[in-house]
């Protein structure tokens, strides 16, 4: 297989990987000798940080394609969670732009143009053909880039991929797949409770399907990161990695929020914290809300036990267990704090103020907190953890 434009356009695909393999490229030699590839690889990551995409493709397909494995190596070498995530999101965002354009292209040329991806190709790429179907049944044909049906129209690969006659098409997504692919979407409209679910399938429209596929790309890119970087490659890329680390620290992304200023908490969290500190027994959902909120703003289990002011021995163990649990120490996943809608249905949303209503649109308590932090002059903020003057604080406050 020779390197084709479509490999460069979608470098995360299995066929692209094969093309790299068959080109007999040795990564160590590549990073040592091919400055253009390394440069574009660095560019992918820098754009990811600064723009949220991986930038414009290089004119030469070979360089564009090979820069992808180089970028993955760079990200692995820096090995910062936030960079990995940003990078994967950026690859996904760029892929999203490209496949959206491919699917929407209704020109006659399209059917003969092997350099565009069809919806069924993309679904097949992620093993989703069996679990996502179009409501009108046309997805079943499974037309793909290698099959002649592609030319006959009506299949999923034609111009009506997600929109037909100006109306978004409807698709059904198997519920487990939906939950997996929608898990990063924050809006309430993505919550399963607000979806049409029947017989194990969730109804989504065309645009939503594209968003779900973006997430599938993100998962694919993230898969296997960080890679084990051989020493030879690592030393070749030392300067580039150092430069990325520096950009990262300038952007100050590593902290995510990681600032604890209880005075700026949203009213709901202030109230919950207050109640915990008074020794009131909170129901599970309330404890969960406050503990996951505190975790999300960068607090460690010890710090949370501390700010809760739980009596040692009495309730400390339970709190510790619960917080650890929320942090994901005892389970394979992270827990994220509930949205305002969820807080409201549990009766945990109290003392709503103007910021809740006008600024964050009752979306998420974290948005409230971020907004308040943004409003303040950073130098005026005193982190609760510093105030506390506890020596342990330094040691375990790294995220």
């Amino acid at each position: 297989m020779t390197i084709q434009p479509i490999h460069a356009r979608y470098p995360f695909r299995e066929t692209a990987r094969q093309a790299v393999g068959e080109a007999g490229v040795d990564l160590a030699a590549l990073v040592a000798e091919d400055a253009a590839v390394v440069e574009r690889g660095v560019e992918r990551v820098v754009w990811a940080l600064e723009d949220g995409t991986v930038g414009d493709a290089h004119d030469v397909d070979r360089i564009e394609l090979l820069s992808y494995p180089v970028a993955r190596v760079l990200v692995s070498q820096v090995d910062e969670h936030i960079l990995t995530r940003r990078y994967a999101e950026a690859e996904a965002a760029t892929a999203y732009e490209r496949f959206t354009a491919d699917f929407a292209d209704t020109t006659e040329l399209k059917s003969a143009n092997a350099q565009q991806l069809s919806l069924s190709d993309l679904l097949a790429e992620f093993d989703l053909s069996g679990v996502i179907r179009s409501a009108d049944g046309s997805l079943a044909s499974g037309a793909s880039e290698t099959s002649p049906e592609r030319r006959s129209g009506g299949g999923i690969g034609d111009g009506s991929a997600v929109v037909s006659d100006g109306q978004s098409r409807e698709f059904r997504v198997e519920v487990g797949t939906y939950l997996d692919l929608a898990s990063d979407q924050r809006g309430d409209e993505w919550g399963l409770v607000n979806r049409a679910l029947a017989d194990g399938e969730v109804v989504v429209d065309g645009e939503e399907l594209l968003v779900l596929l973006r997430q599938a790309v993100r998962h694919r890119v993230e898969d296997g990161l960080p890679l084990n970087v051989p020493a030879a490659i690592e030393s070749e890329l030392e300067a580039e990695a150092a430069d990325l680390r520096e950009r990262l620290s300038e952007l100050d992304l590593t902290r995510d929020i990681d600032t604890v200023v209880p005075e700026l908490f949203p009213p709901c969290m202030k109230s919950l914290l207050d109640r915990v500190q008074k020794g009131e027994h909170l129901e599970h959902h309330s404890r969960f809300a406050i503990a996951s909120f505190l975790t999300s703003i960068g607090m460690t289990t010890d710090e949370i036990v501390d700010i809760f002011q739980v009596n040692p021995g009495f309730g400390e163990e339970a709190t510790r267990y619960q917080v650890d649990h929320i942090r994901g120490a005892t389970s394979p996943t992270d827990y994220s704090p509930p949205s305002c809608a969820t807080m409201q249905s549990y009766g945990d949303c109290v003392n709503k103020d103007d910021i809740c209503e006008d600024v964050i649109d009752e979306s998420h308590p974290l948005n409230y907190y971020e907004h308040r932090l943004d409003q303040e002059d950073e130098d005026d903020l005193t982190d609760w953890r510093e105030q506390r003057g506890d020596d342990d604080a330094e040691a375990d406050s790294e995220a």
């Binding site: 109306q167 198997e174 519920v175 487990g176 797949t177 939950l179 997996d180 898990s183 309430d188 409209e189 919550g191 399963l192 409770v193 607000n194 979806r195 049409a196 679910l197 029947a198 017989d199 194990g200 399938e201 969730v202 109804v203 599970h284 959902h285 649990h325 994901g328 120490a329 005892t330 389970s331 394979p332 996943t333 992270d334 827990y335 994220s336 949205s339 809608a341 969820t342 249905s345 549990y346």
Partner: protein, 386 residues
């Protein structure tokens, strides 16, 4: 619980385990096992992080150890006997639901009898199964009476096995109706060049609200005019004017309504729908215990084992038998039937069990063994000499 009581129950639990055949859960050897022994310390201590490899065969283990409670994990692991979750290495988890009378809004603790609580729990179970069957389309469901105050459902479909905790919480929120946004059960549709608001009739809570609306309309149209308008005005935010508009709209547009079109009733119908959303959630949600479902490492009682706090059997229920299932009859272990024993009743009062009602006085009395075991396990009696 006194020593002789504990010894008696432990011995009889052992007898039960010796004569009972178990159908263990699938991949039992990849799961973590745990149990609570009969001890005299006040709290219960769970022994966990066991694998079947450590325990030998399940039957032998139960007959030998005669535990008070027995559990297995929803999760499967590479090394289920490892002492920390990290070292176990997670592979997959069943999706588990727990309905417990303690968490049901419909139950009044201290007022409802045990039988009443269990009946309310079964109603909630049916609502849950409705979601699992119709909305989620799950196939591999095991329904279990917990031996205590409720029911468990184990879902083992392939599609749930890899779900992470966050995704499981989405499922919890769904069946509980948490975070349901009234505006989001509606969508818009193009009708002859204009967008019209329609209820989501294809599935989800939208479909439930839609069905509720249709029933309401049927009932309304069966009334005479005045009665119907009066009924409408009972709803918050609907006065005489709106009631008239809505009524007119409903009367003339049965078909459009059937299709979910809600444009026709104007503001009035909107108000009506908003009220319906909370009504439907209240009536139809299944108040499951969230942490049980979201915890992929959860330990759950082993079907077929005995519950040390009731001496009832943790029992799998065939779906076909669910309607007829009466926990206070069907979960009484055969082992304890056909004998009489002496107990010393410390907490007298009425008890319903195995289809009989007993009114117990304090003091020594000879009772059927199943009743005696139930009372002792619940802490309402001690063993008396024979």
């Amino acid at each position: 619980m006194q020593e002789q009581t504990r010894a008696y129950l432990r011995g009889r639990f052992g007898d039960h385990y010796r004569r009972t055949e178990f159908t263990p859960p699938p991949e039992a050897n990849e799961r973590e096992w745990g149990y609570v022994p009969w001890t005299d310390s006040p709290g219960e201590t769970m022994v966990r992080h066991r694998s079947l490899l450590d325990m030998g065969s399940l039957e032998d283990f139960l007959a030998r150890e005669k535990p008070k409670h027995v559990y297995f994990s929803a999760g499967r692991y590479d090394d289920p006997g490892a002492s920390s979750m990290g070292a176990k290495t997670w592979r997959s988890s069943d999706l588990v639901f727990d309905l417990d009378a303690d968490h049901l809004p419909s139950v009044t603790l201290g007022e409802d009898s045990y039988a009443e609580m269990l009946a309310k729990c079964k109603d909630a179970l049916k609502r849950l199964l409705d979601f699992l069957d119709d909305d989620f389309g799950f196939d591999d469901l095991t329904v279990v009476f917990s031996g205590g105050r409720g029911y468990h459902v184990h879902v083992r479909d392939e599609t749930v096995q890899q779900l992470e905790s966050d995704s499981r919480r989405e499922i919890v929120d769904y069946v509980r109706g948490i975070g349901l946004d009234p505006e989001l059960v509606e969508t818009t549709e193009m009708r002859g060049g204009v967008t019209a608001r329609v209820l989501e009739t294809e599935g989800g809570w939208g479909r439930r609200v839609h069905e509720h609306l249709l029933t309401f309309v049927d009932d309304l149209l069966a009334m005479d005019d005045d009665e119907a308008k009066a009924r409408l005005q009972e709803m918050d935010g609907i006065g005489e004017g709106r009631a008239n508009t809505i009524y007119g709209a409903l009367e003339n547009n049965a078909e459009a309504l059937e299709a979910g079109n809600i444009e026709l009733g104007g503001v009035g119908l909107r108000t009506l729908l908003d009220a319906f959303v909370s009504e439907v959630v209240e009536q139809q949600n299944a108040p499951i215990d969230e942490p049980v479902t979201t915890d992929v490492n959860r330990l759950i009682r082993l079907p077929g084992s005995l519950h040390g706090g009731s001496a009832l059997q943790v029992q799998r229920i065939d779906r076909a038998d669910l309607d007829a299932f009466d926990p206070l009859v069907d979960a009484v272990p055969e082992t304890f039937v056909g004998h009489e024993i002496n107990v010393d009743v410390t907490d007298p009062g009425p008890v319903e069990l195995k289809g009989d009602s007993f009114n117990l006085q304090a003091g020594e009395v000879s009772v059927p063994e199943y009743l005696g075991a139930f009372l002792m396990a619940r802490g309402r009696a001690e063993k008396a000499p024979e």
